[in-house]
Each structure stands twice: as C-alpha cells, then as structure tokens.
Homo-oligomer: 309 residues x 4
C-alpha cells in the first residue's frame, strides 16, 4: 500500500483549465428574493492544506449566504455545551428522506434523525438558546474566532425573508414541541435559526472556519482546541452520512469526503489531516445541492484519488 | 496538521489487556439453528496493514458464517460486470430503515436503496446470475483468489436453513420482479443469494479478502488490480453509508471507518491506505450488528485516533 | 325481505336495565384541565325519531364539550358556501391513520384526507374564515337555529387551553400553509378552530342539531332545507367512513350508523329516515372514542337490528 | 321525516334513456390477456328487490370475470367458519392505500388492514384452505347455492394468467408468512386465491348471490340463513368502508351503498332491506373501479335518493 502525496498547485491549474468546460446545470434557489437574485454564474473555491498553504480560484473572496452550512457550526457549539447527552435529543442516522420531512419526525416521535435536517438544526438551535447568554452574538463571536475575521455578519433581509416563507419549519418545531423536545419559546428559537442560516462568508472564510475539522479539532490559526479530536471525528462522520440531505450517498460515492452544502450554492468539505475546501456556485441540482461545486469536487477527488476512501 | 503513525503491536497488546473487561451483551442470531448453536463467547480479530504485517487476537483462525459481509464481494463482482450502469438498478443512498424493509422498496418502485439491504443484495445476485457462467462456482473462485486460500466454501446446511425461513426475502424479490427489476427466475436467484450468505471464513481470510479495498483496488497478495481505484473508493463509500443497516450513522460516528457486518457476528472494516481488519463475536445488538466487535473497533479508533475522519 | 319497525320505548327500557352492567372502561381526556376534571361516570343519551318523538336516559340535559363533533357543523356550513369545489381542497377518503397525522398530509401535499381529521377541520375553518362575515358568531347562530335553542356558547377556557397545548395543530396548519392550501392568517384560523371545538351542548341539543342529517337535509323544527338531500347524504357518507378516526371501520362494523365522536366523550349517530341519537360518556378507548357510548350504541343496533346495513 | 318508496320500472326506464349519453371513460384491465380482450363497450345491470322482482338492462345475462367481488363470498365462508376470532388475523379498517400495498402490511406486522385488500383476501384464502375439505369445490358449491344456478365455474385460463403475473401477491403472502400469519403452504393458498378471483358470473347471478346481504343474512331463494343478521350487517359495513380500495370514500360519497368492485368491471351493491344490484362495464377509472358502473349507480341513488345515508 502506498501513501498518497498531493500536488495542490498542479490540481488547481488543472481545475482552472477544466472549469470553462464544466456545465452549469440546475436552478438558483428561488424561494426568497435574496437568493433568487444572485448571479447564477458565480464560482469560487478556496483550499487550505495542513501546512497552512492557501489555494483559490474565481470569486473566492466574495460573500455569499452559507445557509445550512452554518448548521455544522451550531452543532459544534451545541456538542461542546451538551457533550454526549446531546444525542438523547437528536440522532446521528441518515434520514433517507428530504431534509424537511415531517413524516420521519412524527414516526420517531419528535426526535430528529440527525442535526442537519431542518428539524435537527431547529433542535440544535433550541439547545443553544438554552445554553448561550446572547445566542446570536455568541454564535457570531464563535464563528469570527474560527476564521480569524471580524467581518462575519447575519444578513437581516435573508433572515426576515426566511421567516416570512418558512411555514414548514414552523410545522417542524411545533411538532417537536408537541413531543416535548423543544424547551424554549418557539418564536425565539425560530429567530435564532433564521439568523443562523443567514450568515454570509467568502469561500476563504468558510474554508478557514472549517479547518479545525480537518485538524483533529484544533484551530490552526491559534492552536486552540475547539473540540476534542474525538468530537471532530464524530462531527465529520455525521457530515459524511448526513451532510447532503438525501444525496449523502451520492456525494460520498462521487466525492468521498465529509462535507456540507447550503441552498446558497456553497459546499464545504474536509479531508482530515490534509485540507479543508470551500466552493460556491449558486445553481442547485434537483436534490438542492450545488451542481457545479459537486462536479468540481468529484473531479478533484477522482482524478487525484484525494478521498478518505 | 500532523500525520498520524500507528503502533500496531502496542494497540493489540492494549486491546488484549482490555478484552476481558469488555461486556458481551446482545443475542446470538437465532432464526436458523446453524447460527443459534454457535458459542456466544467466541472472539477473534485479525488486522493486515499496508506493509503486509499481520496482527491477530483470539479465535482469528476459526471459520464462521460471514453472512451479509459477502454482499460486498458480490457487489464488487457485479460492479466489474456492469460498470456504472449498475446504478440504474440499485441506489447508493442509506436506507434509513431496517435492512429488510419492503416499505421503501415499494415506495421507490422496485429500485433498492443500496446494494447492502437485502433487496439490493438480491438485485446484485440477479445481475451475477445474468453475467456469470457458473455463478456459485465463479463467486467462490473470486473469493479464493482474493484471500489466497482454496479452503473457502458455502455451508449447504446454512443455505438450506435460510431458504426454509426466508419468506421476507421471497417477498422482496417478488416485489422487485413485479416492477420488472429482476430478470432471472426467482428460485435461481434466491438459491444463489442463500449460498452467497452461507460462505464461511476465518478473520484472517476475511481481512485478506478485503485488503484490496484498503489498497486502492489492488490485491496486495498478487498485485492484481481487482477493481479500479475509483471503484474501490466508491465501494468503501457505500460501506461507510450503508454497511450497518440503520446503524450506519452510529457506526460511522463511533468507529469512523467504512465497514460491513453480518448476522453471524462478523465485522470487516478498512482504512484506505492503512489496513483492513476483521472481527468476530456472535452476540448481536438490537440493530443486528455484533455488539463486542463494534465496541472493540470503537476503542481501537477512538483511543488511537485511527479513523478516516 | 321484511321492513323493520322500531319499538323505541321498549329499547330505551332495555338499555336502562342494561346500563348498570356495562363496564365504563377507558380514560377521560387529560390534555387540558377542563376535560380532565369532568366526572368520568356521567352518562346521557337522547334520541329523536322521524315522528318527532324524544327518548332520553341519564344526564341528557347536561352540557358537555362536543369537541370534534362540531366539525360536522363546520363542514355543513363550508359545503353550503363552496359547493362541490370544496373537494378540491379536502378529500373524502378515510385516513387509515391517527387523526392528527402529519405523515399523510405531507405525502398528499397539503390536501387533508377528509374534513374530520384535524388537518381537514383546520382547512374547513380556513374556508369559513374566508366566507363568513363574523365567523365565530355566524357559526353559533347556525348551530342555535339547528337545535332551536339560544343557549349555545363557546367555552372560552376550553378554547384557551387548547390553544396553549396545541402544537400539533400549529404544525398541521403551517404545513398546509407551506403548500398554499391555507388562505388566511394562521392565528385567525386557529382561533376559530379552537372556538369551534369548545362548543358545549346537551345530548338533547346535539341530537336536535343533527336531526337534519336524519331527515334528508331538512331541519324538522322549522322545515327549512339546511342542505340539499344530496349534500346530507354525502355528509352522512363522510361520517360513516371518517367519523371515528382510525376506528371508523370498527364503529361501522359494530354500530353500523354514520356518526361522529369527540374527545369530550360525546357521540352522535344518525339513521337516515329514522332518527338521530346523541350519547355522552367521558371515558375514551385507546382510539380516543367514548368507550361506553359505543358499547351502548352497539347494543342498540345489534339487538334491534337498527343499522343502515 | 318521510319513508321513501321506489318506482323500479320507472328508474330503469330512465337509466335506459340516459345510458347512451353516459361517457365510457377509462381503460380495460390489461395485465392479463383474458381481461384485456373483453369488449370495452359491454354494459349490463340487474336488480333484485325485496319482493323478489327482477329488473335488468343490457348484457345482464352475459358471463364476466367477477374478480375481487368474489372476495366477499370468501369472507362470508371464512366468517362462518372462524366466527369473531377471524378478526384477530385480519382487520376491518379502510386501508387508505392502494389495494396491493406492502407498506401497510409491513407496518402492521403481517395483519392485513381488511379482508378486501389483496393481503386480506389471501389471508381469508388461507383460512378457507385450513377449514374446507375441498376448498375450490366447496367454494363453488357455496356460490351455486347462493344464486341457485349450477352453471358457476372458475376460468382456468384466467387463474393461470394471474398466477404467471402475480409477483406482488407472492410478495404479500410471503411477507405474511414471515410474520406467521399464513398457516398453509404458500402455493396451495395462491392456487385457491387465483381460482377464487377467476369465477365468472352474469349480472343476474351476481345480484342473486348477494341478495342475502340485502336480506339480513337470509337467502331469499330458499329462506336459508346463510349468515346471521349481525354478520350480514358487519359484512355490509366492511364493504361500505373497504369495498372500493382507496376510492371507498368517493364511492360512499357518490353512491351511498355498501358494495364491491372487481377489475373485470363488475360492481355489486346492496341496499339492506331493499335490493341488491349488479353492474358490469369493463373500462376502469384510475383507481381500478368500473367507470360507467359507478356513474350509473350514482345516477340511480342521487336522482332517486336511493341511498342508505
């Protein structure tokens, strides 16, 4: 068996050459105007390896709505706060169903299948509202420290638009409340949740924020242990199995890295011990994941055999 | 970020010391006499690393019924025969349901969710019956070559017992046939399937048979490319997401390696680029996976941070 | 084939003699204090036949919370307002599931299976909020006219308690809103719905209110056509198939009359062309229907062959 | 309230005049050649009232495949044999799902929802195989006596064709067997079931066979009590709630009589105390019930208010 070595600049050059030929299929998310109005042809990617080298392509320094990717940050905070008792209130199994399914939640009596389906992220939000003194500010402070940048904010318009259209999330949280699995006031939790999903970042900031998951829990910027190595492993495992809704298998199969997507077109992926990478391309495939970001990641891992598998 | 190195002998010594203190909870599979009569206290494990070193503990040279673990071997053969068209007839997504669920199969109109739930393995069996001249003999020959041992056989009594009790598999295959997704005679496919699940191996043979999946598709015994590196990656990804029925998330979360279990109490896991490991302990947890084998693997990967994540 | 004749006084005497020997199994509804505090041993029944004769037993003149029985009155009003277009927004099929199931509602994309499951009654409420000038007052006026009594009111405490505990209904209506099948403000519809379910009546008033459904749509008190004979037939058919949640088959099987129950322990049943009958006994069986009321009705229809079947 | 009287000859004249104007939508069942080759424009109807008068229209003396209608006859026999213990092995609730759904059967652990979905009829067949000395012959003898005609037979070609295509029924019975709810050999039960569904009758024979259900359990031809009045009521109740698959609500709503359909295009309906009526028109609506037969029945009951409701 042979250890793999990675020629990062060469790979980025190859991808840069390849990019114009990769189709940009799919549809930009249209359920709120702030997402619908994004330029569908935007593309950015940024990789940080374990030596601390940075590689980027395209609009890697442009802010976009990271949406559900922020659920991983919320999970990290909640896991630190609750330790292993967290798993009494939310599972770690793939859902096998669309991300906003009430069916499973009802069948399993208000215990969300995992922290990345909407119900699970609402549950995690409830936990943070219980634990944090100033939940929204504390979340921003945590995120800023992870990526070493002060310039991380919620987008109030996005949060507001989500709130106006999100009857399905209201259904989910009410159902969990009916089973006693939501402890705080529903409106407070929903407000936190919609702000969480409205965070904006660049690919560079995103890759930096997730570097601790590629580094056994240690933030490489300041060598602080964000979470234990065991917790980092477990968060990665959950991303691997649940990070792409009902396309988790397809993503694992094609890309072979733990990762998470958002309907803003962002994708984060980490290779433990090697690198973290963020991509952004707004058009989504039928499962709600960025079409082009996944294509590029598949090319990256297949051509270069850069996969955990 | 730091590269990990592994002290295999030290880990095995530590596990050996730890073993007497690990509880042996659960129940031996009892639906056929051949499994019910196995000594519940048997334990074996065998690891082969990329340098070709072997490490073992307990009854690692005793044959046991590998059961569903053989589905990975069948998938490997079928994937080679059908290439990517295989995925038109079987999916790669976790099931989110028990391994023998008809519900999902009906909901998805006869396309099994993945190749490791029973329906998926029956579908793979149908493909092999279509492709192989002498399906049962060819499967044995393939397995023997993988592990470099001639002494690999079906257990006719096990196959016969399975056949007598397996109304659920008959339901599954009839349902798929009703959707046109089974091409061969039902009895022929079932006969192949029941034989597939009756293969007997030792931990050593099992670890050797799966070494190609830890070695980017190459059989380290003879340096033959069993499947391409890309296919090996994909088979590992499917094991990661679907290898432990509705406990796949739990196994990933705890152990963090792609693997597969069988109701005979066997578990195989691979760390691509590093090692393959087989364990055997007959008592099963409530999800049908070996209780003790998973405990030991979790200890191995958590203590030593030997995980792909 | 022989026409049946009915000796009402004889039947009531027989039931009166039988009553002490009929067990009073089950549990009083306990999710709100107003229901939990009702005397569990209360029993009343009242029958009005097509000659306008009245027969009663027990606490037939005592008010109780008719709860879901009021859904039939709401349906009658909505059906009159919308005519057959009503059925584009709500179905007429039995649910095959508990009355508050989100599963089916999601599977069928926000179209409730029938008007008597909670989702369906919320939908009917939305229609009435659209059509009526003063929805709550108009509903009371309609009900008062049906039973010829001014003394019909909502119970504000009950409505308030329901509102405080009813996260499941909030989940249902939000889900329907997410599918675009709720037109009005959610809080307004919920307020109407909780008031609807808080109506209090006596058995006598209830039997009188439903007499038009036993009389081909004509209110026997004033000979007004409340709904057409065809609509009355259809409302009865829906009661027959959907009036007892997932015990509709059992109720039809045992009692053989169209009817509707409420968690307050009330049951209404009609025999078209013959009579309407209301019963009240607060203890509920495991399906949420009055245990004793159904026992007595079964005795009535089985012994005397008073069934539509 | 007013007693209804029926002018049968007048109604039949009106229907005869109306018939040419009633569309003949839908598709003839095509899964076996024997059904596919039937003339799609055939139409027959036959009514027998409680005075023993006969009224007919069209091809009322032509044999057709009664298919699932025969399930009512099988249920009648099984109910007589098992009495109320029958309901421990099969339910009486509407399915809320297509007639051949495995989902519900698995969810409810091998207990079919009711005797008229395929699983339920297979279960009833199993019971008859247990109870009858010569199941197929005894079933024919029972049916012949009901309609007073010797000329009632299975169609061997139909039974054979069903057997060749019916993987779904094989799935259902294997699933029930896996739950221990099938006692006899699967092939024997399936053979009985396929013969049961192959019975051929004319509308006249069919109406006569079901007259006992319109006559409180008494066969009007010979005044024999086929089943008790209570059992007749219960069978009618089950027909009302479960006789038209997932269109039971729609049929009750439109027609308002207990009835049963078959994919051969036959429909039987009974008005207890008044009449039994059989119709035949081969083209089926999307739910698998005869389009034209239901239209005509709806006209009959709506125009003349001939409904139990």
């Amino acid at each position: 068996m042979v250890e793999k070595s990675i020629n990062y600049p060469g790979i980025f050059d190859e991808i840069a050459a390849k990019l114009p030929g990769i189709a940009n299929h799919g549809q930009v998310a249209s359920y709120i105007p702030e997402l619908a109005n994004v330029d569908p042809d935007k593309f950015g990617m940024h990789l940080i390896n374990y030596q601390g080298e940075h590689f980027s392509l395209g609009a890697s320094d442009e802010k976009f709505s990271i949406q559900s990717i922020a659920k991983v940050l919320a999970l990290t905070l909640a896991y630190s706060a609750e330790e292993e008792t967290l798993w009494q209130r939310v599972g770690v199994e793939p859902s096998g169903n669309p991300f906003n399914s009430l069916v499973q939640l009802e069948y399993e009596q208000g215990i969300p299948r995992n922290p990345f389906i909407n119900a699970g992220a609402l549950l995690v939000s409830d936990i943070l509202v219980s634990h944090l003194k100033a939940p929204k500010e504390d979340l921003l402070a945590f995120t800023r420290k992870l990526c070493g940048r002060e310039d991380i904010h919620f987008n109030a318009k996005v949060a507001e638009s989500e709130k106006r259209t999100s009857y399905n999330n209201a259904a989910l949280i009410n159902l969990m409340k009916s089973y006693g699995n939501i402890k705080n006031d529903i409106d407070v939790v929903l407000d936190f949740y919609f702000n969480l999903c409205s965070i904006e970042m660049t690919c560079r900031e995103l890759a930096q924020s997730f570097a601790f998951l590629a580094n056994y829990g240690v933030n490489p910027l300041n060598n602080e242990q964000v979470v234990s190595a065991s917790k980092a492993k477990r968060i990665n495992a959950i991303m691997q199995l649940c990070g792409f809704y009902d396309e988790a298998g397809e993503f694992s199969f094609k890309v072979g890295l733990p990762g998470k997507s958002g309907v803003g077109g962002g994708v984060i992926a980490v290779y433990p011990g090697k690198f973290s990478i963020a991509l952004w391309s707004p058009k989504l495939n039928s499962k709600g994941n960025s079409y082009k970001a996944i294509e590029v990641l598949e090319f990256l891992t297949t051509k270069t055999q850069l996969s955990i598998f």
